[in-house]
């Protein structure tokens, strides 16, 4: 098992970020930004400080590991859905979307068209819910309590919508292999449009009080720049890589379901600093609003939403890998089946874990005060990274 020091040696050899070393170990102070810290979530990283500058960072995940992948092997394909959405409870439509796509490829199910549209609507709404929550926590990490309360309140508007659609506020258990579990209720379309318009008005308020606030800009512009080459070499994904001028979005690069019929732009920024990483999710949310409007327009007025399945769906032995753009980045499932109703091996590849690898590289050389800003700008969700 290679340690972080050996990885740093290798990264120096490859020409990546040069790690700042201090000759005198005595003057360094070791801080454990552990799970019992208001600025870290369910995650621990050990940092060494030289005065006010960080010279070493060692992430230590695993506090919320619950064995999701192993549990999948003991349940059949439909029973896997409720526990698989627990890693990210408020973005659950995306993590089960990817699973459903992979299972449909294995078993050979064709999802009806209306079901595909509703799945995409649920996915976009969940992306907005997750990003608003992430934005709220970003605000409170920087000490801005108003920015914590406003997105959390506006999130209620969308969660109310999702509750009408799926029956539960979070952990919807809505996507299953074959489609979605129930059709939209009456009046959903108008309610959805009015709430999307309200949200678009609120984005302007966020820009006024947070993004254009000179104090916020001073704290995040130019901090922890991730260049384009480093981003590609480190393999980060999602809004982090789009903030480093790489316009990669799984919905455009490998379109799934009906995303090849929707017209939207991939939002990206060129600077690659903390400000870009915090601004790209807002642009993604605005883009998401346009996508939802198009989806509601193009949706067939009636039709099946769920394909008929046999009681214990199973397919021929094989493997499949599908991925989806979730709030954090590319979320992929690799499922191996051996012909029985229960999968043989399920491997979940999440965006958070890949983004975490950039944390040691970015934190070294920054001040202690930048630590929460950098850490959370990597769009890291600790529960999902541990699965």
């Amino acid at each position: 098992m290679t340690s972080i020091e050996e990885k740093f040696e290798e990264s120096k050899r490859l020409g990546l970020q040069i790690v700042k070393e201090s000759a005198e170990e005595d003057r360094l102070m070791t801080l454990s930004v552990g799970p019992q810290h208001p600025g870290s979530g369910h995650f621990r990283f050990v940092i060494k400080l030289d005065g006010d500058y960080i010279v070493y960072c060692d992430p230590d995940p695993g506090y919320v590991h619950r064995g999701e992948e192993k549990m999948c092997e003991y349940r059949n394909v439909i029973q896997n859905i409720p526990h698989l959405e627990r890693p990210v409870i408020h973005d659950s439509a995306n993590i089960t979307y990817s699973y459903s796509l992979a299972v449909e490829e294995l078993v050979g199910i064709e999802v009806p068209r209306r079901g595909q549209f509703i799945r995409a609507i649920a996915s976009e709404l969940n992306r907005q819910v997750y990003t608003l929550y992430w934005l709220a926590i970003y605000g409170i990490f920087l000490g801005h309590s108003t920015m914590f309360m406003w997105p959390t309140g506006d999130r209620e508007v969308i969660i109310d919508l999702l509750e009408a659609l799926t029956g539960a506020r979070v952990t919807h258990a809505y996507n299953i292999p074959g489609g979605v579990r129930n059709d939209m209720p009456e009046g959903f379309r108008d309610r959805c449009l009015s709430q999307i318009r309200y949200l678009q008005k609120r984005f302007k308020e966020y820009e006024d009080i947070f993004y254009n606030n000179p104090l916020f800009r001073q704290r995040t512009e130019g901090v922890a720049v991730l260049s384009k080459e480093d981003a590609i070499k480190l393999g980060v994904t999602g809004s982090v890589v789009r903030a480093s001028s790489v316009p990669f979005d799984v919905r455009k690069a490998e379109p799934y379901d009906i995303y090849n019929e929707i017209d939207f732009k991939v939002q990206y920024m060129k600077t690659g600093d903390c400000f870009a990483r915090s601004y790209v999710p807002l642009l993604d949310m605005q883009e998401s609003c346009y996508i939802i409007e198009q989806l509601l327009d193009k949706m067939p007025a009636s039709g099946e939403v769920r394909a008929k399945l046999q009681p214990n769906p199973k397919g021929p032995p094989g493997e499949s890998y599908r991925r989806v753009e979730s709030g954090r980045g590319a979320l992929g499932y690799y499922i191996v089946s051996d012909g029985t109703p229960k999968p043989y091996r399920v491997k979940i590849s999440v965006g958070s874990f890949r983004n975490m690898l950039a944390l040691p590289f970015l934190l070294v050389g920054q001040r202690l005060a930048d630590m929460p800003a950098v850490y959370w700008s990597l769009n890291y969700w600790p529960v999902e990274a541990d699965r």
Partner: protein, 165 residues
């Protein structure tokens, strides 16, 4: 002096909110309204009917004791167990009905999807607190009671903002 402009804009934005109505839902004095009666599943069409997934309701005159709900839940939360009931029903020869442990139930509704006889639905009731764990296990007789849930408010969006009203 763009920074001064930025400050003035943020002060303006913050002060604007002093005249907007508050967004809070004053629970438990006011409760949210739901559309419909709760999540139901139509086995003939094979698709569910949208609704809130709260406490279950068991129709004793349709349940045949086939255990499909308990088998579905075995892989998820193991919250449904079959118990013997005293009632004599023609369609329920074995005399067993499901009992649900709400300490374990995750309210996913897959048991409702599994029932082929229109016997198990979910309702709008979500206020299920109890003082002991034993009180959370709902027997088939308790599951047959239709809950009385009164919702008063919903989210209203107008030009000035959103409120619960």
């Amino acid at each position: 002096m763009t920074s001064a402009g930025g400050f003035i804009k943020s002060i303006e934005s913050g002060s604007k909110h002093l005249v907007i109505k508050r967004f809070t839902l004053r629970y438990p004095e006011k409760k949210l309204k739901f559309v419909g009666d709760g999540y139901q599943f139509d086995p003939k069409k094979g698709v569910g009917i949208a609704g809130y997934r709260g406490r279950h309701i068991l129709m004793h005159d349709k349940c045949t004791g086939c255990q499909l709900c308990a088998i579905a839940c075995e892989g998820i939360a193991e919250a449904i167990g079959m118990v013997k009931v005293d009632e004599q029903w023609k369609h329920n020869k074995k005399g067993i009905m499901p009992q649900i442990d709400y300490g374990k139930c995750v309210f996913c509704g897959l048991c409702v999807d599994a029932c082929p006889f229109y016997a198990l639905f979910m309702t709008n009731d979500y206020e299920l607190s109890a003082f002991t764990k034993e009180h959370l296990i709902y027997t088939p007789a308790q599951l047959a009671i239709k809950p009385k849930y009164q919702g008063d408010v919903e989210i209203v969006i107008d030009d000035r903002g959103a409120t619960h009203g």
